[in-house]
């Protein structure tokens, strides 16, 4: 699979890998302990254009394809999760809706600043009573003259405490809801009545802050509507769909790092005069880890390429997210077994990734919701790209 990647992409991957090793990884522990990315590192990330990799070049971004960006996410996930998390919003949930559905004026106003990292974005969809059931949101937006007035509360919102810009999904018509009653808005920090509520304390993802966002009679100008009034749910779902490849790539990168660390540990750790790696049980664990990583990688690269060909890849995207996030869970378990008690120590990458990886099966749609989506697609007759290729091949004479 890796052989089919364009030279240019492989170069990007290598550059990010080097950046991670020389500039980010030395600060991984710092981020974990102090619960924030040092300012000068953030500055370096901005200088490298990491905040706008997927934003079109016309608006100051890197114009990366999905596949190339997946490679970047994969490499960035091999160090502290906060580094990827902070750029993932501007490259995805925080900018995608503007790129896809925003007006030209809105694009000009926000995209260059998102690309440079001058503005940090957050995506406010989830509410206490609307998690998996995103359509169940109650934050309301009522039109009053030339603006909408927002009221409600969002929670678990990544980047919220540091965000300059919020993409907010709210109900404009409680009767119509997803059939034309939900609208997406850009809301700037400092808008009247917008406050950051409780900052969530989570198992992992230190340095990547999540909090409640509260709107109390917050006025938002009508020109801040993304796309059309009433089409917000569709805007949101397209964006979320796009972000799911990020979770898959993150899972892949983390799993690769864990395998790398596990191999090193198994070779170095002596037990009764022999390296742990001599144990067949350990070898088989490594074998399973490597095999699952390879299959996730094959799925992710193939799916990203399909997205880049502008083909409908919704089914494959869901499969990538589900499989890769569960795969990294299994890889974490095996890495912990290989590291033994030492893997429990704070300061060890395995300990940190055990906590960080657990979110991957939950956010951007839980594994359960993904099974619902995939099952529904399959029953509707949607087929994977692989099935299409197979059909084509058999049509041309099939097997010899």
């Amino acid at each position: 699979m890796i052989g089919t990647l364009p030279e240019e992409y492989l170069r990007t991957k290598q550059q990010i890998r080097e950046f991670v090793q020389t500039d980010l990884e030395p600060y991984a522990e710092d981020v974990e302990v102090n619960n924030r990315i040092p300012e000068h590192i953030l500055e370096k990330m901005k200088q490298r254009g990491l905040f706008g990799l997927t934003i079109p070049k016309a608006y100051g971004g890197g114009g990366m394809s999905k596949l190339e960006f997946c490679l970047v996410e994969q490499e960035l996930s091999k160090t502290h999760f906060a580094f990827l998390d902070i750029i993932s919003l501007n490259n995805g949930l925080g900018s995608k809706s503007i790129v896809l559905d925003g007006s030209e004026a809105m694009k000009r106003k926000y995209l260059p600043q998102l690309a440079s990292g001058r503005l940090i974005s957050a995506f406010a969809l989830t509410e206490p009573n609307a998690g998996s059931d995103a359509a169940g949101i109650t934050t309301s937006a009522v039109r009053q003259g030339d603006h909408f007035v927002l009221n409600g509360m969002k929670h678990f919102i990544t980047n919220a405490p540091i965000a300059d810009l919020f993409i907010v999904i709210a109900v404009t018509d409680p009767e119509l809801r997803t059939r034309g009653g939900i609208t997406a808005f850009v809301v700037e920090k400092g808008a009247p009545g917008l406050t950051i509520g409780h900052v969530h304390n989570t198992m992992g993802m230190r340095g990547a802050h999540k909090s409640e966002v509260i709107f109390k009679d917050t006025p938002v100008p009508v020109e801040n509507v993304i796309g059309e009034v009433g089409k917000g749910f569709q805007v949101a779902m397209k964006t979320v769909d796009d972000g799911r490849m990020g979770v898959a790539s993150t899972s892949l990168g983390m799993a690769e790092r864990l395998l790398e660390l596990s191999i090193g540990h198994a070779q170095r750790t002596m037990r009764n005069g022999k390296p742990l790696a001599d144990s067949q049980a350990i070898q088989w664990m490594l074998a399973d880890m490597g095999t699952e990583i390879y299959s996730a990688q094959a799925m992710i690269y193939a799916t990203a390429a399909k997205i880049d060909r502008q083909e409908d890849a919704a089914l494959e995207v869901a499969m990538c997210k589900l499989y890769a996030s569960e795969m990294v869970g299994r890889v974490v378990d095996k890495a912990m077994e290989i590291f033994g008690r030492g893997g429990l120590r704070k300061g060890s990458t395995v300990e940190r990734m055990c906590r960080d990886a657990r979110i991957l099966r939950i956010f951007e749609g839980t594994a359960e919701i993904h099974r619902v989506i995939i099952g529904r697609y399959l029953l509707k007759g949607k087929r994977t790209a692989y099935a299409a290729v197979e059909k084509q091949a058999s049509g041309q004479g099939g097997r010899a």
């Binding site: 989830t126 009573n129 609307a130 998690g131 998996s132 059931d133 169940g136 678990f156 969530h200 304390n201 989570t202 198992m203 992992g204 144990s279 049980a281 350990i282 869970g329 378990d333 912990m336 077994e337 590291f339 033994g340 008690r341 893997g343 429990l344 120590r345 704070k346 300061g347 300990e351 055990c354 906590r355 657990r358 979110i359 099966r361 939950i362 956010f363 839980t366 594994a367 359960e368 099974r371 619902v372």
Partner: protein, 382 residues
């Protein structure tokens, strides 16, 4: 499914449930975890209610209960809270050694204090994997004047900072294969005992862990517990009890995870329905319940069996590994059912998940433990 318990066992179970429900306060526990404090108040109360040391002989402050009662106590502690449960369930770690092989003076010196919570103990193992050829934590070298010098070290010792008494798995003399197995009882502040803090860890935040170094610690005959058969047999017997206690912790953690998941699934509404109405979630809960009950049957049977003979080490390792797997499964699924809120430190399911994984790693490597089981059932084939 109903498990057959004696009237006395039911009484103990009920009393502990009342205690944990009445006294284990979620917010207070979260505060303890945040500050990494030992649950001293809860421990004191548990001791006062005679929930610690139930297995000790009556004349030494206990209630002469069997393994089954001990399992029930630990299970209920951990069911209500994994971190506090493990802390309370291991505050008198190693007391079984004194019960089984200590002389009356040693028993009198230690057991009533442990039962009342005036003393806390910990065990220094050389080998947590319970392998037949496991090394001891330290070596006792006779000095000729009736005293011994103790040298050795143990890594990842739980509660060392707080323990008044270290129970050190040792051998007498350096010749491993024929050496006598013994346990040395040390006070923490004995000269030659050094503790190195290991910092924070993944879970069980209410108990600190240390690397303990023993260098030329002088021990007298009075502080040495010599098992009657002077061999590996005693060590194995102790390990079996230890394994059952850990299995009981895993069982309690698993039950606690199911309790939380059920409660949440019955109240959380998504898509205008309780999530517990969705077949996918219902079957997850069914799988969790099946796993839990099978594990409970196994752990209880092993605890009951312990009365008659101590069972085979490989079987008890199997019991521990099964309970461990169940706890891993149930804490994982429980957290998943909670979704995003399960990832928040504010809800206990989050630390149940970390604690199960921490206890797994602390109780030895699955790989080596399976070697012991395989050796017992397959044997040498050359």
């Amino acid at each position: 499914m109903k498990f057959t318990l004696t009237e006395e066992q039911k009484y103990i179970q009920k009393a502990i449930r009342e205690f944990t429900r009445g006294e284990f306060d979620e917010d207070q526990i979260l505060e303890l975890l945040e500050n990494r404090d030992f649950p001293q108040n809860l421990f004191r109360k548990a001791c006062k209610l005679d929930f610690v040391g139930v297995g000790y002989p009556e004349e030494f402050g206990g209630q002469a209960c069997g393994m089954m009662e001990q399992v029930l106590v630990i299970e209920e502690f951990c069911r209500k809270d994994s971190s506090v449960g493990i802390a309370l369930g291991s505050a008198d770690a190693g007391a079984e050694i004194i019960c089984a092989w200590g002389n009356d003076i040693q028993k009198q010196k230690m057991l009533p204090g442990l039962a009342k919570g005036k003393l806390v103990s910990t065990v220094l193992f050389g080998d947590v994997d319970a392998r037949e050829d496991g090394r001891p934590a330290a070596i006792l070298t006779p000095e000729g004047d009736g005293t011994f010098r103790l040298n050795g070290n143990a890594d990842f010792v739980m509660n060392a900072e707080r323990a008044d008494v270290f129970i050190v798995q040792a051998q007498i003399g350096a010749d491993a294969p024929t050496a006598d197995c013994a346990f040395a009882l040390l006070k923490r502040n004995t000269p030659g005992v050094t503790l190195q803090a290991l910092g924070e860890k993944l879970g069980i935040g209410v108990i600190a862990w240390h690397h303990v170094i023993l260098q030329d610690v002088v021990v007298t005959e009075a502080d040495i517990v010599r098992p009657a058969d002077e061999g590996r047999g005693a060590m194995l017997d102790f390990q079996k009890i230890h394994l059952l206690r850990i299995a009981a912790m895993f069982l309690g953690i698993a039950q606690g995870a199911l309790d939380m998941a059920l409660r949440y699934a019955k109240q959380r509404v998504q898509f205008n329905r309780k999530i517990g109405e969705f077949q996918g979630i219902r079957h997850k809960l069914a799988d969790m319940y099946m796993d839990l009950q099978a594990t409970r049957a196994l752990v209880y049977a092993a605890a009951e069996g312990h009365l008659h003979d101590h069972g085979d080490l490989h079987d008890l390792l199997g019991v521990k590994l099964t309970a461990e797997r169940t706890a891993m499964h149930l804490t994982d699924e429980a957290l998943q059912i909670f979704g995003g809120s399960g990832y928040m430190i504010e809800l206990p399911v989050e630390h149940f998940y970390r604690d199960a994984r921490t206890l797994r790693a602390l109780s030895g490597r699955t790989v080596f433990q399976k070697d012991v089981i395989a050796q017992a059932i397959v044997g040498h084939l050359t």
